[in-house]
Amino acid sequence: MEILAQAEYSQLAGTIVSGLSLGTIYALLAMGFVIIFKATQVVNFAHGALATLGAFITAGVAVELNFPGRFLDLPPLLGWSISVVTALVLSALMGILLERVFLRPMVGEDLFSVAIVTLGMNVILMTIVTDYIGPDPRSMADPWGDASVDLGFVIIAHTEIAQFLVAAALVVLVGVFFRSRTGIAMRATAFDQEAARAQGVNVGAIFAIAWAIGAVLATVGGIFGSVYPRRIGVFPDTAFLVFRAFPAIILGGLDSVKGAVVGGLSVGLAEAAAGSYLNHPLFGTGFSGIVPYLVMMIVLFIRPYGIFGTAEVRRV
Amino acid sequence: MESSESPAAAAVRTRTIARLIRERAMSSPNQVALRHKDLGIWRETTWSRYWEQVLLAAHGLLSLGVDTGDRVSIHSEDRPEWVILDVATVAVRGITVGLYPTNPAAEVRYLLSDSGSRVHLAEDQEQADKLMEVIDALPDLERVIHVEPRGFRTYRNDPRFVFWDEFLEMGRSHRAENPGAVEERMREADPDDVMTLVYTSGTTGPPKGAMLDNANAEYCFDELINADSRMPDNIGPNPSDEILTYLPLCHVAERIFSTWTSAVTGTTLNFAESIETVQENLREVQPTLFFAVPRIWEKLHASVILKSRDATRFKRLLMSLCSALARVIGRQRANNGGRHTLRSGILFMIGYPLVFRALRERIGLRRCRWAATGAAPIAPEVIEFFHGLGVNLYELYGMTENAGFATNNFYGRMKLGTVGEPYPGIGFRIDPETGEIQTRHPGVFRGYWNKPEETAEAFTPDGWLRTGDVGEWVDGTHVKIVDRIKHIIITSGGKNVSPSEIENSLKTSPFVKEAMVIGDRRNYLTALVGIEFDTVGDWATRRNIPYTTYRDLGEKPEVLELIQGVITRTNSRFSRVENIRKFRMLPKELDHEDGELTATQKLKRESMEEMFEELIIDMYSSRS
């Protein structure tokens, strides 16, 4: 009896851990998506490609280039961190480049036309990334390996702990950023591009910053989506994480960073819970995968603009 | 029905327009007689329905007690009801009095009291409001019919007002009680019955109502409208022709060209929505016969030039080539009496598929087989241009007092710069002393309504009508109009100058809308110029010249320079004494209601000189 209760307890704990682990990845991807949308009015269908590309760049820097390991003999965590930061800078530049080349000409165009452009970007990026990744997953060479801590009732991998810490730090950083001068300028731009421009905000720079932040967050999400225990390296299917993050984005509200975090975590928890508990044959195969969408649809029915989303002002 | 009458009776009978329309309704009841645009759709009225409506309206008039010789006035834009009431009035031997829709209240008062109208048609609230301002001064006025129901709330309890549909209802019940009453009245019609009073626009003095009787009209039917020879291939107007009615129907030209032509020859009348939409309506209707005043031709001409400037490089190139082509063709034709020469024919075959066909489609004259201009002088370049496009445009000359009957450029014998030859068989002469044109024929009017003195003045002692226009013979066959007698400028140097010739030359520029040449008893000529706001505005926008109002735009140095260019160009065509030395821009757009223009958009020179006295004094005093 007691053993059974113990097992149930640990299943619950395990579910919460894996739900949070999934949720933080969703939250990171959703935050990047929302920041890009908010600042530039672009629905970025290439966000999955950004995540994959970022993770691939990380693998390239850390493993193929072996930077900075080839020059310096640093402790694994420090060395790897430098690799990741380097990769993040490269990803940010990539994001800026993409925005400048493909999306700047579309400023002012219809939302969905712009979305189609990002879809085209997605095709191009994914084709190239897939070609370069090749047939096998590319290792992230993270310093944690398969190490884990056993808390008795639940086992947590070191990568998951790192993931929680990094995600929390990034959420705080984004929060701080939005209170900075640039962040306020970005909020102004999101509110009214013309007015922001009139106030002397360099809207082009804001777009670039938004894409840089979006690409960085996507990369971090991509990295954590590609390490143990989730994966053993980056593979093109990392991109699919973003489609799974869509309900999180909508749930929180398309233009709410806070919503992205809350949405990401709740969707991750709901999905993990469904995976653990809703496995009766009646639910069929893969029910947990649609739970986020069900939750999203119910929320939308009650709050048509998501939990934290701004209700669009309807004018005649 | 007709045939049942005795030939003797038929001989006595006069062919009024009412009778002609009844005949049409009998012979081709289901053909389209009228077309008007209602909520975007051209509604059609057949001849039988047309006649039916006329009959109801006539009965309605009878029920209102309209008697022989009573005046029925119509104050409305062109619309079927105008024509129906007009014909109905003629049917009951009444007299139609037309008012310009732009007539302000004061003029309404004058016209109605002068004519002593008993029944009045006020189209809509606007006209009714004008009427109501002055109605207390109109003791003769008994009933007011209105066509538009909207806005008549305030007059609902006024027993004088009757809505058109109710009016027809009254006619219907009157007909039920008195069947054949209208026919009876029609049978009594006499050639001497005055059928309409056409008020002259009155460039000087108050308008005078010219009386036209049935005999005048009948002469016009036979000799003018049915004169096949004036049209290409000797094919006169016929039921397959389409006419666009858009000039005020109270003007004699439009009445002859629309109502009368349609009644005599069975052509279909298409009513334009308003004068502003003429260009669009033209494209829709693509009339086969088209009469327009010079102002319209100038506008069409200007729009072609303007739009081609906006076109893409290739189209612009093509257009400039084809305009050059059109000029060559036009000149060739003009020199050949309006017919093609071999060379112009070949050139036309090149230009037609490339541009002319599409261009004519765009301006609405693709199917136009005969077009005319009159009522005011026109620049020869414009006629030449349209001839180049293949539009047979002829200038003709006539006036209210002679039922539009004087000269015409007959097909194949046209001469550019003239108003054509006198109609065969009419009395036509140019007074050798004054150069005034005088006519005498059965179409000449009976006299001015209630104005025996003016009537007497209108005729020479030997009974010829004084037209007031100075003319001269060209090649002994054609007549050239120099100007109104009263407008001729005699400079202090003693030279006679015709201002309208110079003014028209100025107005060929798309930038000039109005021009008035001044110089009577002065040392030199000057001009007041009004710009075409749209085109000059467009021109300014292209050059990034900011402007606000009409006045502001007109006073821009760049615009002054532009107009100076136009004047310099015109000066080069005239002798030195006819050159304009100075000019000033008109500070406002001229308007009928402000008294600067007549209802037919002619300059009221005297009032203009009064109004812009300061400008004129400035031109003759300052050194610059």
Partner: protein, 478 residues
């Protein structure tokens, strides 16, 4: 366009490497060439009799009526141009879809094989030209490209995907065209399906039987008498066929299935709950038929929960990245994993494999030493044989090639794969051998193995598989 986005639609038997025996008593097989020797079944065709020595055979068969220098009369219709000396072969490949990376390597093998054949005179002097079409693993593209090539080629060198191949079966039958399916679906043995197909290799179903049987023996040796079994697979023919095999084995051996996740692994979704569930079930043996990333996901989750079991799966699950030096699961995998494959590894020392390695080095030096290319060679060899026989039969029409292919009695791959036969009953032809591999991180690091495994059993057939009698597909595609 749709399928171009379908990155993760995974499935299919990525099982691209494999083997099978065959090389036992046929020792005389020529060691110098990659081309195997075939004997055609004499009765299957009305064409002139063929033997292993084509030139002489032709002369004999045609007798004195034919002048020696006069060329043989060859019937052709589509895809063969005798004057230009070209044979065109269609390739319906997933080059940019979910299996693109693997299929591209496989295709490198195919290209190398035919480059070598053409360099050495082609098929009786006819050069073989391959017309590739990228289906991106979509059924509608597959059908469309089939239609595009249908009248251009003499046969299809491969056709990726089981539902895809089944979709074109009616048209294949209509025209009598031959195709080599690039899947190892057990249903290909069904006479209803294989009339136009030349399947090869051990099916997913039998592979699972061999592996479960083997692991049950290993468990017994380890002292676990009644091991419990957990199954987790993709949906579709690959996953479900292989799950069906595992279940047949479990039933025969009386193993308890404590977790049945057949068809539960969905590549686009979070599969960690499956790993958690397997960990909860406490299974001793786990059978997975998925792909490397989803296996890693399931395995990672179960491992994080502390499960230690014998993990096994098809070759399509395996990636050298598992045991790469910086892999987080290198040690655990080395401890836990058993892999099945149906041909020997690239490093095998058979003469055929030696020749293959030489050719790869000569024609495609940039391609890493990887087992996928073996499948490319196997396909090429089958088709090469079929074309040769058809030529010798004097009928290189589409139907002629099909008939020739279906008459091949013993196709010898020179040790790079088990021999295949295309005559006889399904059960006589059934391939039952499996190679059993263990992870080998040292070998990978040292470069002695390309794929990070070493063979522990060759030509292995567990009694369950040996006794298996084919009646219908283990998993039926309707």
């Amino acid at each position: 366009m749709k399928t171009r986005f379908k990155w993760l639609a995974m499935i299919m038997a990525l099982s691209l490497i494999a083997a099978a025996c065959g090389g036992d008593d046929e020792a005389e097989a020529p060691a110098t060439t990659a081309a195997p020797v075939t004997t055609a079944a004499p009765a299957t065709t009305a064409a002139p009799g063929t033997t292993a020595a084509p030139e002489e055979a032709t002369e004999e068969a045609t007798g004195e009526t034919m002048a020696e220098e006069e060329p043989m009369m060859i019937a052709t219709d589509k895809g063969v141009d005798l004057e230009a000396g070209v044979i065109k072969v269609g390739m319906l490949s997933d080059l940019t879809g979910p299996f693109g990376p693997a299929v591209n390597l496989l295709v490198a093998g195919v290209n190398t094989f035919w480059a070598d054949v053409n360099a050495r005179g082609g098929v009786h002097g006819l050069m073989v030209e391959l017309l590739y079409r990228d289906t991106a693993y979509s059924v509608d593209n597959h059908v469309q490209f089939f239609e595009e090539l249908r009248d251009e080629v003499v046969a299809f060198g491969h056709s990726t995907g089981s539902p895809h191949t089944i979709a074109i079966l009616p048209e294949l039958a209509e025209d009598g065209i031959l195709a080599i399916p690039l899947t190892w679906y057990s249903g290909w043995s069904d006479p209803d399906l294989n009339a136009n197909l030349l399947s090869h290799g051990t099916s997913y179903c039998i592979e699972a039987m061999n592996m479960i049987g083997y692991l049950s023996d290993v468990s017994g040796e380890n002292g676990v008498a009644d091991p419990t079994l957990a199954i987790a697979t993709f949906p579709g023919d690959y996953g479900l066929d292989s799950a069906a095999g595992a279940k047949i084995a479990a039933e025969t051996l009386g193993l308890e299935i404590v977790y049945d996740g057949s068809g539960q692994i969905i590549p686009s979704q979070d599969n960690a709950p499956i790993g958690n569930a397997i960990a909860q079930s406490g299974a001793d043996i786990v059978w997975v038929a998925a792909n490397p990333t989803t296996l890693a996901e399931v395995y990672g989750a179960a491992l994080a929960q502390g499960l230690v079991a014998l993990w096994s799966g098809t070759v399509a699950n395996w990636s050298p990245a598992f045991v790469a030096p910086d892999s987080p699961i290198k040690d655990a995998m080395t401890r836990d994993f058993y892999g099945a494959s149906y041909f020997p590894p690239y490093t095998d020392d058979s003469p055929g494999m030696q020749n293959l390695r030489d050719l790869m080095a000569q024609y495609a030096p940039e391609v890493p030493p990887i087992d996928y290319v073996i499948e490319g060679f196997v396909e090429g060899m089958i088709l090469f044989e079929a074309l040769k026989v058809a030529y010798e039969n004097g009928d290189m029409t589409q139907r002629g090639v099909l008939a020739a292919a279906k008459s091949m009695e013993e196709v010898d791959f020179g040790g790079i794969a088990p021999n295949e036969s295309y005559v006889g009953s399904p059960n006589e032809r059934l391939q039952r051998q499996t190679w059993i591999n263990r992870p080998d991180p040292e070998g990978l690091a040292a470069g002695t193995t390309a794929i990070g495994t070493r063979v522990i059993e060759s030509y292995y057939t567990h009694p369950i598989a040996a006794d298996y009698y084919f009646e219908e597909a283990c998993y039926k595609l309707s």
